[in-house]
C-alpha cells in the first residue's frame, strides 16, 4: 500500500481488510424484541388520535348561517368548489393552477365533473320528505330562471339572511324577492339538521348503482366551502390568538374563521393553540398532543416561506419546489458538489472515531514501557 497525500478517491475503493463477527439476524431479533414490547406499551399508554369526524348535522346546528350561506354559494355556483377548475370543472372562467400551457390540472380535464347545485343540493334534496310537494317545484323554478335573475335572488336572500333570527334551530328570514331560494335553502338546512344530508351523501341514495361506494369527494368539498359564501356573523375564529400566528404577508385561508376551519382550530388544541391549516405547517401537525407527519416538512415548508404563498398557483409551486429538492436528493450520489458535502463537513471523523484512532495508533505507535522488575526500579532510582 503506497502512501502519499490524500487523494480522496475513496469512491473507487472497496474494503478488503480485516473483518469482525457480526450477527445481522441477532440484530434484527433484538430490535424486534424491543419494538414488540415498546410499541404496544406506548400504544396502550398514549393511544392514537381519533377526533370524531365532522358532520353536516353538526355544521347546521353549530353554525347555521355559515351553513346556509355556503349552501347558497353551491346553489348559485360561486363557491370555492364551483369555481375550482379541473378536475371538477372545465368552464373557461374556472380557476386553474399553472402558467400558460404548463398547467397539469388542465392536461387531464374535468375527470371528476361536479355541478355543485345538482350534486350538493338538488340530488340530496330528492330524499327530503317534502320534496314532491315543495322542494321539487322550487328547484324547477331556480333552474328555469335566467342567470341575472338567479344573481338578483341570491343577493336578496343574502341580505335578508344577515338579520334572520335563529331560535332553537328555526330561523325566520324576512320576506323578500328571493324567489325559490327560501324554500330550497330551508329544506337543505332542515335536511342537514336532521342528519338526512349526511345520510344522503353516505348511502348514495341518489345513485343506487353505486350503493357500495365509500367516496366522500362531494361532502368533503362541501365542507371545505364553509365560509365561501361570504361568511356571516358566526364566522369568527375559534382561536383569537391565531390571527397573530399568521404573518401579515400571508393570505388567510379561504373560509378562515368559519365553521370548518374552526374545527381545525378546536381539534388542534392544546398543543398548537390552534391550527392545522397549511399556513401553519398544516398536516405535519396532528390533533392534540400527538406527533404529526413531521416527515412532510420538506413539502409543507413551501407553504410557510415559499415564493408562492399569495399566488393562485400556491399548491403547484409547493409541489414543484418539493420536486426540485427531491430530485437532487434522489440522485445525490451522481451530483458533483452535493455528494462532496460529507467530505467537507468531516462529521465522519466523529462517526468513525474508533477507526481513525486505530489508524493513528498504527502510524504513531507508542513506545511500549519495559516491564517493571525489582532490579530495573532499583537502577532508575539509584
Amino acid at each position: 500500500m503506497s502512501r502519499g497525500p490524500a487523494t480522496w478517491k475513496s469512491s473507487d475503493v472497496a474494503w478488503a481488510g480485516s473483518r469482525r463477527p457480526y450477527d445481522l439476524v441477532k440484530e434484527i431479533i433484538q430490535w424486534f424484541v424491543v419494538l414488540i414490547i415498546a410499541i404496544p406499551v406506548i400504544a396502550w399508554v398514549f393511544a392514537s388520535p381519533d377526533p370524531p369526524p365532522v358532520t353536516f348535522k353538526a355544521w347546521a346546528q353549530q353554525s347555521p348561517k355559515d351553513f346556509i350561506n355556503t349552501t347558497l354559494s353551491e346553489v348559485n355556483k360561486t363557491s370555492l368548489s364551483a369555481t375550482y377548475g379541473p378536475p371538477y370543472e372545465s368552464a373557461p372562467g374556472a380557476s386553474t393552477q399553472g402558467w400558460g400551457f404548463f398547467s397539469p390540472e388542465r392536461w387531464f380535464g374535468a375527470y371528476l365533473a361536479l355541478n355543485t347545485y345538482t350534486d350538493f343540493v338538488a340530488k340530496p334534496l330528492s330524499t327530503a320528505s317534502n320534496y314532491t310537494a315543495q322542494v321539487s317545484p322550487a328547484l324547477s323554478a331556480w333552474s328555469a330562471a335566467s342567470s341575472s335573475q338567479q344573481t338578483s335572488w341570491s343577493k336578496a336572500f343574502q341580505s335578508a339572511l344577515k338579520n334572520a333570527p335563529f331560535t332553537g334551530g328555526a330561523y325566520d328570514v324576512p320576506a323578500g324577492s328571493y324567489g325559490p331560494l327560501g324554500t330550497i335553502l330551508s329544506a337543505q338546512y332542515a335536511l342537514a339538521r336532521s342528519g338526512g344530508l349526511d345520510n344522503a351523501f353516505d348511502a348514495n341514495e341518489t345513485n343506487p348503482t353505486i350503493w357500495f361506494s365509500n367516496d366522500q369527494t362531494w361532502p368533503m368539498l362541501y365542507f371545505g366551502d364553509s365560509g365561501q359564501g361570504g361568511g356571516g356573523p358566526d364566522c369568527t375564529s375559534a382561536e383569537p390568538k391565531q390571527q397573530n400566528r399568521i404573518s401579515p404577508t400571508q393570505k388567510l385561508p379561504k373560509g378562515y374563521g368559519c365553521w370548518y376551519y374552526n374545527q381545525a382550530v378546536i381539534n388542534a388544541s392544546p398543543r398548537y393553540a390552534g391550527y392545522l391549516a397549511g399556513s401553519t405547517w398544516g398536516i405535519t401537525n396532528e390533533v392534540g398532543n400527538f406527533p404529526g407527519a413531521w416527515w412532510l416538512v420538506p413539502y409543507t415548508i413551501w407553504y410557510q416561506f415559499g415564493p408562492g404563498l399569495t399566488s393562485q398557483s400556491a399548491d403547484l409551486i409547493a409541489m414543484l419546489l418539493t420536486g426540485a429538492v427531491s430530485l437532487p436528493f434522489l440522485f445525490l450520489p451522481w451530483i458533483p458538489g452535493l455528494r462532496d458535502i460529507p467530505k467537507f463537513t468531516r462529521v465522519y471523523k466523529l462517526m468513525w472515531s474508533d477507526y481513525y484512532k486505530s489508524v493513528q495508533r498504527q502510524q504513531h505507535p507508542q513506545p511500549v514501557p519495559a516491564p517493571r522488575t525489582a532490579g530495573s526500579d532499583a537502577r532508575r532510582t539509584s
Binding site: 500500500m1 503506497s2 502512501r3 502519499g4 497525500p5 487523494t7 475513496s10 469512491s11 473507487d12 475503493v13 472497496a14 474494503w15 478488503a16 481488510g17 480485516s18 473483518r19 469482525r20 463477527p21 457480526y22 445481522l24 434484527i28 430490535w31 424486534f32 419494538l35 404496544p40 400504544a43 393511544a47 392514537s48 388520535p49 377526533p51 369526524p53 365532522v54 378536475p87 393552477q97 397539469p104 390540472e105 392536461w107 371528476l112 361506494s213 367516496d215 366522500q216 368533503m220 365542507f223 381539534n267 398544516g282 398536516i283 400527538f290 416527515w295 412532510l296 413539502y299 399548491d315 409547493a318 409541489m319 440522485f331 445525490l332 450520489p333 465522519y348 462517526m351 474508533d354 489508524v359
Partner: protein, 258 residues
Amino acid sequence: MSMTEREQVPPAPEPEGSPGQADGRRNMMAATRRYAEKYWPYSRLLPSDEPSYVTKMFYMWGSLALVAFVMLILSGCILVFKGIYWDHTSKWGLFFNSVHFWSCQIFFFGIFVHFGSSFFTAAWRGGRGFTWLFGALAFFTAILTGLTGYVLQSNYDGQWIGQQAKDAMNAVGLGGLLNLMNLDVVTGWHIVLLPLGVALFLAAHLMWVRRHGVVPPFPPEGMSFEGAPEPSGPAKAEAGSSPHAGFEPIDSDQRGQP
C-alpha cells in the same frame, strides 16, 4: 495431497441430467443465475461478519426502520381483518390502530437517522449509488403510504388531511389517480400498492447493501490509493494487518459509478 496438486485435478464431469448442464449463453435464467452468483454469493448475501470498522451504533438504525416496517405490516394486517372503522368502536381497535400509528412514527424516525448517518458517511461511494437511490425511493413511497394512512383513519384527521392535501394532488394532475377524498381509492393505495412499493424498494435497497457491503471510511489523511494492489477476489477477508490495507480499487465493472 497438497493444495497445488488438488487444484490441478480436473473437476469431475457433471452427471448427465444435472441442472444447468444445458445452459447456453442465451438462456436468460442461466444469465440471471450467473449475475446473482457473481454479486450475491451466499457469503455476501447472508454475511456472518462485517468490516472491522463497523463498530458504532449508527449502523443499527436501518435495521430499526426495517423492523418497524414489519410491525407496520403486522399491525396493518390485524386492522384489515376488522376494517377501517374498528378503532372508532372498540378499545382493541384503538389499541391496534395505535400500534400502527406508533410503528409509523418509529419507522420514519429510523429512516431519518439512517439517512443522516448514510449522508455524513457518504455511503454512496464505491459503486453504492443505487443503494442510496433505492433507499430514497422507499422513503418517498413511504411518505405517500403515510399520507393515505392518515386519511384512512376515517376520523376528523382523515377528513381534514384528505380535503387539504387534494389541492396539491390536483395541482400536479394526479388527483384522478389518487383522489384523497375517496376512501375506496385510498384504501387500495394504502394497503396494496404503496406498501408493495415500499417493500420492493426496501428489498432492492437491502440487496444492494449486501452486493457492495458497508461503505468503508474515508481514507485517513496522508494516504493515497494510487497504485494500490488489485483485489484478488470479492470475498477477500483478512487482507493485510494494518487498517490501511483494507482499501483497494473496486472491481472494474463498478468503477465510474458513484
